[in-house]
């Protein structure tokens, strides 16, 4: 039982990482209608930046915050490239984000090399319900909960969140009421970068990060985000956690080499299920 609880908490923590990557996807999709395939790259850039800042002697904490800002900057740059030109269709922008993600590989290899790098996180273990748990896992869970509550409040309660959502729902009408849809898209990408950055610096202590880690992050993040139809942050959290638990349980009680396959099957099932439902954000042809 103790062992099961331990696996469960590990699964939740890993799932929170997926959910954080997924939340960036949700933020960008909800505001711009673009599926941002560079989302995993933001996490990688932030994680690698954090290792460099720490190596330069910047305090832990501050280094992570700086790295998250770098992630936000990466998001903003991606946004300017992908949707900076007025009238870019979401599908075109999707391809641009994919290209930016690959281009970033070259830059990352140039700066940080090809080898995986690790980041020190919180040391030691804590007792939770009589189960020893790595403190870093608890930190991941706590930060994720805070981030998602803030996101949910932002989108569902604030006027600004509504205005941002309006951009994706009907860009035509949003412009009529004076919303600068392009600027809102930049804000969305920067927010996506920050969320990706948070995921990156939290995950880096749990698993070494290299330039191509973004693929596994985006698969998990996408599975989490699509669980909420790419628009609902809370459903993305639930999706991420379910996925994380599934992966850890397959590793623990089944065959470890099936873990990734398990998550891909999870993704496939959800996409098929989603495809049979009505899309959650309608767009109107202009």
């Amino acid at each position: 039982m103790t062992q099961f609880l331990m696996f469960l908490i590990n699964g939740i923590a890993i799932g929170c990482g997926f959910a954080l990557v997924g939340s960036g996807l949700v933020a960008v999709y909800r505001i711009t209608g673009v599926v941002n395939f560079a989302q995993g790259m933001f996490a990688v850039v932030a994680a690698l930046s954090a290792t460099s800042f720490v190596a330069m002697g910047v305090w832990h904490g501050l280094a992570e915050l700086m790295a998250i800002s770098v992630g936000g900057l990466a998001g903003l740059i991606t946004g300017v490239i992908a949707v900076g030109k007025r009238g870019t269709q979401p599908l075109t922008a999707l391809l641009v984000t994919l290209a930016v993600g690959f281009l970033a590989y070259a830059v990352e290899v140039l700066i940080w090399g090809e080898n995986p790098r690790s980041l020190a996180g919180l040391d030691g273990r804590a007792e939770l319900m009589g189960v020893p748990v790595q403190r870093q896992y608890l930190l991941v869970i706590a930060v994720t909960v805070v981030v998602f509550v803030l996101l949910w409040l932002f989108f569902s309660r604030t006027y600004l969140g509504k205005a941002l959502t309006a951009c994706a729902s009907n860009p035509y009408a949003a412009r009529v009421v004076g919303i600068d849809v392009t600027r809102m898209a930049f804000i969305a990408f920067a927010l996506g970068g920050v969320l990706g950055g948070i995921a990156g610096v939290l995950i880096a202590p749990l698993r070494p990060v290299s330039f191509d880690t973004d693929v596994s992050l985006i698969v998990g993040g996408f599975a989490a985000a699509i669980f909420g139809g790419l628009t609902r942050p809370m459903m993305a959290l639930l999706g991420g956690v379910l996925l994380g638990i599934t992966e850890v349980m397959i590793q623990a009680y089944g065959n470890a080499s099936f873990a990734t396959m398990g998550s891909l099957v999870f993704l496939l099932v959800i996409m098929i299920w989603q495809a049979t439902r009505r899309p959650t954000v309608h767009k109107e042809s202009v």
Binding site: T158, Y159, L160, A166, N170, V176, V177, G178
Partner: protein, 254 residues
């Protein structure tokens, strides 16, 4: 208030609007009439910035706006209500209208993020503004329903409320009364009259000549993308060119 000179726009070689010039005075209500395909909606889209003109200039209160994107024109006080329902789905009617107040709230963008109490005050002010606008167009009882659930006529009335919320100087109404029942038409007419009394300049596309004649100070008649007549409603109705091009067709039908 609005001066349009030599405005032209073609689609695939066919002119939808051809060399249109008109002046709308401050506080005037201008009716735009004409047969289907006369270029009325295209003209509105050129003024609001949703279409770029091939030629010509548009001035609002003395400054050129024809190079500005739609949201910048909206900031200068141009508001448009489309004939098609341009609504924000998955939002209630109230929320749809609240988005209309974006212009009034956007000054507080950083404060919305940083200074929570003042943000809540802004939020409340916007809510009151939206409810006031909804009451004026008679949609207050629908405030909490999903905007998609409204009949088409009411969706347009909601757009009018959204436009009012933005506090426009120039309001473009593209067939706001179509799909409304006579009682609702009456209510809409009163809303327009009220806006007019507060000094808003209004341009109104409408097929119902009686409705236009009641509200408009002057009427511009478009046919095949060009202005064929302009004057008071009575003058326009007596113009032989108009009778041939537009009213004549109706008279013959009747």
């Amino acid at each position: 208030m609005l001066r349009v000179q030599g405005l032209a726009r073609s689609f695939g070689g066919v002119y939808a609007v051809r060399d249109v010039s008109l002046d709308v005075a401050d506080g005037e209500t201008r009716g735009i009439i004409g047969p289907n395909g006369a270029g009325k909606s295209t003209l509105f889209n050129l003024i609001s910035g949703h279409l770029a003109p091939d030629q010509g200039s548009t001035e609002l209160a003395g400054s050129r706006i024809d190079r500005l994107p739609p949201h910048r024109r909206a900031k200068r006080g141009v508001s448009i209500v489309f004939q098609a329902a341009r609504i924000f789905r998955h939002m209630t009617v109230r929320e749809n209208v609240m988005v209309g107040a974006h212009l009034r709230a956007s000054a507080g963008f950083p404060s919305a993020v940083l200074r929570l109490p003042s943000h809540f005050a802004t939020e409340r002010a916007i809510r009151e503004l939206a409810e006031d606008a909804l009451a004026r167009v008679g949609l207050l009882e629908w405030a909490d329903s999903n905007a998609e659930a409204l009949p088409l006529g009411q969706q347009r009335a909601m757009q009018v409320a959204r436009a009012i919320c933005a506090g426009p100087r120039l309001l473009l109404l593209d067939e706001p009364a179509s799909g409304l029942r006579s009682q609702e038409r009456e209510q809409l007419a009163r809303v327009v009259e009220e806006l007019k009394s507060t000094g808003v300049t209004i341009m109104l596309i409408e097929h119902d000549v009686a409705f236009v004649s009641r509200l408009a100070d002057r009427v511009t008649v478009l046919d095949l993308g060009s202005v064929i007549a302009e004057g008071t409603p009575a003058e326009v109705r007596a113009d032989p060119k108009v009778i041939t091009a537009y009213l004549g067709a109706e008279a013959e039908a009747a």
